[in-house]
Symmetry: C2
Subunit: 662 residues, 2 copies
């Protein structure tokens, strides 16, 4: 059991977590002359690109927490000569920078070690990327689901044929277009974007007075394209998570998802968690702009990749829907996040926003619109609203408990009669961060764990390999750490095998090679032996790791219990797990440690990235936008901080196991 | 009488007129070390400014048609040493540029002549500005009239006090502001500009939750200012004429005109007339942008001067109304003017436009809106609509003939039952351009002329002197040319004195020192003797000048006659002369040559810059904007080009005198 002091400490740590988390981007191959080892990739070097940039171009992933600013010192590489060995000073690379002197020191520099982000290549070299600098591409689990919605997008595509003016009919081009849209499509009182008016004369005359009008919300003509639908009319649904950004490219005339792209949120370079980022935005001049530009340029990049994949262009994107938690929402829109940093944590805006996508730097069609779903309250953001319009508990009789676990946990409980929501500081432990061997869901991460209660022998699976560890030779396994779903299983199996007790402490009566002692007391449990890892040392779960899982689980469970009590029901009829984490955890193991209220297994559903689905539905169906605006106002936000019963619930809920001693 | 061929030639010339017309900007005194002669102004030189720029800074006006691009060669000055005379090569100025070699040649350069726009000063020099390079500041006659309109501006200013959020009331800042505006001011369904939302948290917390909301058209919150109306809320009415730009700075909370600023339209550097400018926009890549930026930056400058004059800032401007002829309108808004260059001359847009002022580069408050009055048809533009909402013929029983003479002539005839309009190519003669001694209404321009029918002696008045020429010694008079009102009087007086006949030709039976012969035939009439001028030669009116006046007058009169015929009335009940020219011509003289249909003198009114008044009324009264939109659609445009009777009318109307032989 944790003392109150520890709980406070935990919360204060949650606000300051600044561990390094790094992102992975998709890359394409190219021609480069520099040779990277051990991957063996090579091509032609470019004199104005750092080794880090060249590596990215050819798909060699090098760790870089600070994003290439020469601050974190993580992108260490060793420069080697391609011909006969030479001294590091003689190698054809740029001289060491001050940042390198500071972060590496003379000794490492003399050994040929350099920072990839600081070094330019001037001639043929070989670059060795040591294990600790290699970055594994995270498995971003945010595919669009198969679910569909009736097609009624905000952006409509209309073909028009106009009569040219003559001396008897001198109507102006713009007024002519608007009259025709009113007459033939019943769209009265339309306005034209200035850009449309500016270019309409040329468009009409080039296209022999035939054009395709793109109309937004039956209100604005946002584009006039030459001829009969000369290019696809695309939309982009964007889910900006604290850690991951997912973008779904959709054909607005068919509703089909054409491509999905995702990437780490580049804002992680300014801090893992939303609080650190918002503090940066508040305290650093230009900080908010910096964070906004980082996420916007990443979305521009994702859009370029997605459109290129289908032979289109970003200029074919005419509508964007964005969802995200309140902090992501504010930083994305360039809105002062200061009120979210102090009680009572009121957001700057709740209502949905409609602006031109160009207003915040999205580089799509000049007429492209951006719709941002409404925020519910405080930290229950537009992402949660998106989950609601995807799952529609407001349309059902059953009491649903919606759990969306990302970097923060968000809960909604209720049905058509009443909906409650809250947010809990689950912290990053459930994403595999802040644990001794924690890592994100990337190749090499232990994601499944089984412990034999009799022998305490461990079976595990790592991402990237088909079978269990026992199916491979030790050296083939190459485990690198434990991801979120892995830690849940590990703790749950340790509990069920009697390695730990319900209060999280180690059982004292055990003696086993896997139990590591410290000062004579059990302290860690070995999941993978050194030989099964790529690290050369045992991968363990420590008492501190278990505490982190307890805190996260406790916060989530306490939130759920308080919602149930507020609604006056003992338990939900259904549990829906949303978010990438919800898709990959093993429900039985999660239930076994009591992560959420007990519920028959067949009443627990994983819905994947429901926030992304909600964004896509809002892109394709205007009614869902209206529902979102309505439901955001309907949901009653339960502020846990003001609940007298929260601390008691929280302490109880940290017990591992389903029998919540409430 | 002109032959048909001459008429065609005239029209083709109208389309190609590219004579140099230059502008005058207000300047302020400053410290400069360079000494200008003959004005004697001096101060401290700046090494990165050309002599032209330094001259502007100290208020020495030097002719510059091309705006300092080294193209026109008009800004010739002579560099002189301040101490003992030195050779030009030894003077402390930058070496001649290629432009100077081309435009001045070696000989002039050797004499010390330079182009002011190409020359930088490196040490003490004296700069002599020869007469032909001196530019007189035009008397811009576009003061706001005293007329007022009921105050109901599109932009309203509302003071608001909000309750800060607390744990029981977590409403977001933006939603809180909107609820309060709905509750206290009855403004439901307001939208907030993104910039307002972005900065609202800081604004509210700095101002202790008291703010001033600026609301546009009861639809959008365009600004939220800290505290109770911390700064004035200003509007700007802008009349963009082909030649002159006038800007009226208005207090939107009182309706008072705080300042008026005007300047030459800098687009004259690309051509006097709208056709040349639009051709530049169409044919030159980036040409449209260039023309737009020229006029926008001039308006930004006028706004800065006007706001500084009243101790305010351009950021205090929240609403702008722009009027102008269709070409000015299109170029100002960045709209492709190509359709105005070819039959049937349909504009790109007729309806009124509402955009953010920043969308076209106006540097006012970020939320500032821009309203552009509607265009009527073809070349009858938003300036004519502005005249209509200032004069409101649609509200009257009397048949009004509205004549707006600028670089083009626009006519409206009618009353509440029917309104007709047309435009006539009056050309620049009526503005004093394209005449042998024509000049704009600037100091030294002859503006009044009297000819004694007995003696043919001439009395005249020049702008800048109180009395007639006979009140001064010859050298004090310093006439420099004839402006628009002067040429009308000169021609009218020459007709009445029998110097010329009704067909415009010189009477052959006269013998007088003022009549100059060419090949034995009368050719010119002397208005001012050389000694009365600043030019050192006689200022005359030639047969060619008379022809130009006839063509302009003929076009205007023919247009009026065709409107009368179309409406089915013999003559108007009232004539209203709008525009600067209309304010300064002598009505009796204009009637005497038959510029417009006969009408009792007391039924002819000059209303000054009615277009500017209309723009100001639209800024201050939303009903006038609605009237403008309505009347622009009501007015029937009469296309003279399609009228079979136009050429006959035109040829008749070129007769000088009121007895129009129709």
């Amino acid at each position: 059991m944790l003392a109150d002091g520890e709980i406070d400490l935990y919360f204060s740590q949650l606000e300051k977590c600044q561990d390094k988390v790094t992102g992975a981007k998709e890359v394409t191959d190219g021609e480069i002359s520099i040779a990277f080892q051990p991957s063996g990739r090579r091509g032609t070097a470019s004199p104005d690109k750092t080794i880090l940039e060249i590596a990215r171009d050819v798909g060699v992933e090098i760790e870089s927490v600070c994003g290439g600013k020469g601050v974190c010192g993580k992108c260490r590489v060793r420069i080697e000569s391609v011909g006969p060995a030479e001294t590091p000073e003689a190698l054809p690379v740029s001289p060491p920078t001050e940042a390198e002197l500071r972060l590496l020191g003379q000794q490492l520099l003399k050994s040929g070690m350099r920072l990839a982000c600081q070094t330019f290549v001037r001639g043929d070299v070989q670059v060795y990327v040591p294990e600790e600098s290699r970055r594994a591409t995270q498995v971003v689990r945010k595919e669009a689901s198969e679910r569909t919605v009736p097609l009624d997008p905000a952006v409509k595509v209309l073909e028009i044929k106009l009569q040219p003016p003559n001396l008897e009919d001198l109507q102006a081009d713009t007024d002519r277009l608007l009259s025709s849209l009113a007459r033939e499509h019943g769209l009265a009182n339309l306005e034209c974007d200035l850009e449309v008016i500016q270019n309409l004369p040329a468009t009409l005359r080039q296209a022999d007075w035939k054009l395709t009008a793109v109309v937004w919300q039956d209100k604005h003509v946002i584009a006039a394209l030459s001829g009969s639908q000369p290019a696809p009319v695309l939309g982009l649904a964007v889910d900006v998570g604290t850690t991951t950004i997912a973008a779904y490219l959709v054909d607005l005339t068919t509703g089909a998802v054409l491509a999905t792209e995702s990437a780490m949120n580049p804002q992680v370079a300014w801090g893992d968690d939303v609080i650190t980022r918002m503090q940066h935005a508040k305290q650093t001049p230009g900080g908010a702009k910096e964070l906004q530009e980082a996420v916007i340029s990443e979305i521009n990049l994702l859009a370029r990749k997605a459109t290129e994949r289908v032979g289109a262009s970003t200029a074919d994107i005419f509508d964007v829907v964005m969802v995200g938690n309140t902090a992501m929402h504010h930083l994305f829109m360039g809105i002062d996040p200061a009120p979210l940093l102090a009680a009572p944590f009121a957001p700057a805006v709740q209502k949905p926003l409609d602006v031109k996508a160009s207003a915040i730097g999205l580089g799509f069609h000049p007429g492209c619109r951006l719709h941002v779903l409404p925020v519910e309250a405080g930290f229950v953001g537009a992402d949660n609203v998106a989950v609601l319009i995807a799952e529609r508990p407001y349309d059902q009789d059953e009491i649903l408990l919606l759990i969306d676990i990302g970097t923060n946990g968000e809960l909604v409980l209720g049905n058509r009669h009443r909906l409650l929501s809250t947010s809990c500081a689950t912290g990053p432990a459930l994403e595999g961060a802040h644990l001794e061997f924690g890592m994100r869901a990337a190749p090499g991460a232990i994601e499944r764990v089984r412990i034999d209660p009799q022998t305490l022998e461990v079976k595990f699976k790592v991402i990237g390999l088909e079978g269990w560890n026992s199916d491979y030779e030790g050296s083939e396994i190459g485990a690198r750490g434990i991801c979120g779903s892995g830690i849940i299983e590990a703790v749950s199996e340790m509990l069920q095998a009697g390695v730990i007790r319900a209060d999280g402490g180690f059982s004292t009566n055990l003696n086993h090679p896997r139990i590591v002692l410290e000062n004579g007391r059990p302290h860690k449990f070995v999941i993978a032996w050194a030989k099964e890892t790529a690290l050369g040392r045992d991968i363990t779960v420590s008492i501190k790791d278990i505490r982190a899982v307890q805190l996260a689980k406790g916060a989530l469970r306490a939130g759920a219990e308080i919602l149930l009590r507020t609604l006056g029901v003992p338990k939900p009829d259904r549990v829906i797990l949303a978010g990438a984490f919800g898709s990959y955890i093993d429900v039985e193991h999660a239930l076994a440690i009591g992560m959420f209220p007990d519920c028959p297994l067949d009443r627990v559903t994983s819905v994947g990235n429901a926030a992304g689905d909600g964004a896509r539905f809002a892109l394709l169906n205007r009614e869902r936008r209206r529902e979102a605006e309505w439901v955001a106002r309907q949901v009653e936000y339960v502020e846990l901080a003001t609940r007298k019963d929260f601390m008691t619930e929280f302490v109880k809920a940290m017990q591992l196991g389903q029998e919540n001693p409430g």
